[in-house]
Amino acid sequence: MAEARPAAGPALVVHLEGFDGPLDLLLELARGQKLDLSRMSMVSLAEQYLAMVENAEALRLELAADWLVMAAWLTWLKSRLLLPAGSAAQEEGELAAEVLAERLRELAAIRLAVAWLGQRPQLGHEVFARGAPERFVTTDRSQVALDLPGLLRGYLAAMRRAAASRRYRPPPVALWTVKEALGRLRDLVGVLPEWSELARFLPEKPGGALQCRAALASLLMAGLEMARDGQLRLQQAAPFGPILLGQAQPEETGDERNRP
């Protein structure tokens, strides 16, 4: 090794830089031996590799980790292969050498495939397609895609947005107001019977219990207001007893005597 260095030194360095990784160099070296990849001497291959890497190192070339890993591995391989044939360690080396040879064969096959592809006429390099293709496809975008899921998504989106933009407001309770009670009683002025129970003048469908009591209260308020103006009369015989409502007496208008 040492004697080869002075002569081949700089050339080898340039050479090394041109390789895409250690396998690349190994394949080149194997080819240099002009040997069948399956029968080549792994020992001599390893020696050549180590010589080149050592040389590169001497020239302070920055070596990538994989170059050094390969160097270490080849050193190990060489040491095994140099052991007497038949020993377990030597067989281990033979096995490892076969693995390496297989990898080199694989890479060699790829190189040959590249050469095969490379000699084929490539589109855009040796053969050319139509330079000005014509398009006869017209795109019609007048149709609208409609689907039910889309419609429902739209509805939900609108509802959700509406929900998000609204502040909470308790639903208003529909109650029969004093104003409405006044209107109802005024309509009845003149056709009122002599005396009848206040509750009979409730609207037909006041709703639930709450609406019922509210309507009764509104009716009482309206009755009190109208009695004050002498438009009708109210009377109650006993506390919590039924409240009776009656026709106003014309001469008593404005008089509040009849009110309990």
Binding site: A132, T138, A158
Partner: protein, 194 residues
């Protein structure tokens, strides 16, 4: 002429064939029309480019592709009579914009409904263009007026709406209570702003 050596004649014919092949390939591969001047350097020196182009054009006459002279040079073009038969129309339906789809859904579920009500439910203004688009597609139609001040137009979906969505009747739409499961969403529905 008559004294031309037969060998010279054969060579000339080969040259012509070569020139025609080259011109054909170049015209085919070129992205732009090729002028006689651009073709000249490619041809054997004794071949006149204009004549080569004319001969090539003659060979393509009546074929599916023709060599035509246009501004700036010669170019292969599809024969004019074939173009209509080669034309294919690909339908790429567009999607309805979101606002239109939402409006359509609200009309479907709340019809008959006024524009103000649609806006209240969506919580957003309804652009005239959106309503116009739905009208144009025949998906909604006016359906009388509400007898309130201003007599606003009422909107409803059309039979086209049903057929486009594959519905037999409006009753085939999923129930609102099956859709509006979240309380907040349902809430909004029960308290529409005036």
């Amino acid at each position: 002429m008559s004294e031309t050596d037969p060998e010279t004649e054969i060579l000339a014919a080969a040259d012509r064939t070569d020139a025609l092949r080259l011109a054909e390939a170049f015209l085919f591969a070129a992205a732009e029309p090729v002028s006689a001047r651009a073709l000249a350097p490619l041809l054997p020196p004794d071949q006149e480019p204009q004549a080569v182009l004319a001969e090539l054009a003659g060979r393509y006459a009546g074929r599916g592709v023709e060599l035509v002279e246009m501004a700036g040079g010669w170019q292969f073009r599809t024969a004019a009579d074939l173009a209509p038969r080669l034309r294919r129309v690909i339908s790429v339906p567009r999607r309805l914009p979101r606002a239109a789809m939402e409006t359509l859904a609200i009309v479907a579920y709340h019809q008959p409904v006024t524009r103000a009500e649609i806006e209240a439910i969506r919580g957003a203004a309804l652009a005239q263009a959106t309503l116009d688009a739905l009208l144009e597609l025949g998906l909604v139609e006016p359906k009388g007026r509400r007898e309130t001040p201003g007599r606003p137009t009422l909107w409803a979906t059309t039979p086209v709406f049903l057929s486009r969505f594959g519905l037999g009747t409006l009753g085939d739409l999923p129930r609102r209570e099956d859709l509006l499961i979240e309380p907040a969403v349902a809430q909004a529905e029960f308290a529409p702003q005036a």
